[in-house]
Amino acid sequence: MKMPTRYILTGMVIFVVGLPFCQLLIWSFSDRWFYPGLLPQAWGLRAWQYIFGTAGNQIIFAVFQSVAVGAATAGIALVVGFPAGRALGLYAFRGKDLISVLLTLPVIVPPLCVAMGLHLWFIRLGLTETFIGVVLVHLTFCLPYAVFVMWGVFSNYNPDFEDQARSLGADTARVILRIMLPMTLPGIVVASLFSFLLSWSQYLATLIIGGGKITTLPVILFALMASGDRPVAAAVSIVFVVPAFLALLLSARYLGRKSMAGVW
């Protein structure tokens, strides 16, 4: 790509992604901001003081809750998605198309329907208002993504590498740890990240299954938004975006390593 084009594109991305953030930042530091003022009439730290002071414990707890739910969801999605993706990507078997359709269903059916339907079952099984219940309902959305990502990874994966390692003296455990995992690492990172971020941003399903007991960050955020306190909602939004943004930045170095895609 030519340099000027590259600069223009980078500028456009920063503009499109950065502008809403500027808006949020300004809102979070404003005390009063009424139409038609281009900038707030009064600046202040009230929103941030509320977050770290008055509602500090509640928000910190919500962040932990969100991280815990997200990590558990991503972990389980990966543990199930990895072998499933391998089977779908490497082997031909009957019912492969059916599995593909079934996997797509939770993605195309509106989350409200899925959550409402599952709610009845979860009540019977005693899973409502529990951590496990929320993780399970998040998995209905995250697992298909994890399986699809790993399916794609294994479709381009050459299992001969494993045979080669085995022939060179690696036992099954070492083949998995030394060959399969490093070769599929970018896929693993993407699948985990997708699952984590999807779970991180779930509101409706968490609210229905969690019943207000499992208060993740989006649940708090929506409550604050509904209260009409825009500066506080803006500050919570920033708190909401930052961990996800950091996770993306940290994983970017793995995503860039094309040489490890195992496609040879």
Partner: protein, 344 residues
Amino acid sequence: MGELLLKNISIRYGRQSVIDDFDLRVADGEMVSILGPSGAGKTTILKAVAGLIEPAAGEIWLDGRLINAIPPEKRNTVMVFQKPLLFPFLNVSQNVGFGLRMHGLAASEVNGKVQNILELTQLSGLEHRKVHELSGGQQQRVSLARALVLKPALLLLDEPLSNLDANLRHQMRELICKIQEKTGITTLFVTHDQTEALVMSHRVTLLLDGRLRQVGTPQELYYEPIDKVVARFFGGVNFFDGRFRNGCFRTVFGDFTLPKVAGNGHPMTATIRPEDILISTVNEFDLEGRVERTHFEGMATRVWVSCRGRRLEVLAGRGEYYPGQAIRLRLPSDRLRVFPPEEN
């Protein structure tokens, strides 16, 4: 040591039989090739020996030990695949040392051995290169070094030269032969290239349609094919029928006195290699013929000759041949190879 014995090996993929009743003995220090067209099941045999595929029937013995039930990592065999399959997240020396580390060798010992083998395979100086920074030839040499460094009882090469261009292939061929001679590692290698098999191996095994057709030295397979199919595989094009009568093999091209007489009275098929037919533009031979067309191939000229209603292909040395030219041929009896006609 590295004596391999394959007894009645049969391999199936699902219900389809790929290899049927395959027997082979590879002596210690010997280099044997399995030659055959694509899809003949050559690689399958190699994978079975390496332990990567389980044969449906038969026994695999290595150094007097039945190894059917032994997992690939404990077989003391190493397979080099058609593609170099270098681990992309390791550099050259790490790739070469991979097997040694898997066998639990100390880092210092690994380094020493890796250095030695890199020198032997002419890769010194490339230790810290990333895999994608290597050329195709270098990658294949690293792959070979990675296998050789383990000093396996049996080295299995699966068409390691097929992805290289002609020049590199020639160099690698020389290198493999040199290293095999130096290390004496028993080597079983698979190829579809008959020149490669003839040049590199002590013995050649011809595999067609999952069945062993002939085993022997390169000369035996080339000059003494046991049937028409083998002869045709090695470039045999001149086939004609005849019958043995009273110690003579009678054909349309005349009677031939052959040392071995078998199947007296029965129809037989004879073949003669194009380079074994003598051709002359003067009247020194008794068979008359007429040139149909010619094809200059550099080292020789291929001449298609019609002779007694048949067509013979002759490889002639330097000389001028042109369509319509009257020439004389001679088919030396000692170059004739006779076998029962093809079963249909």
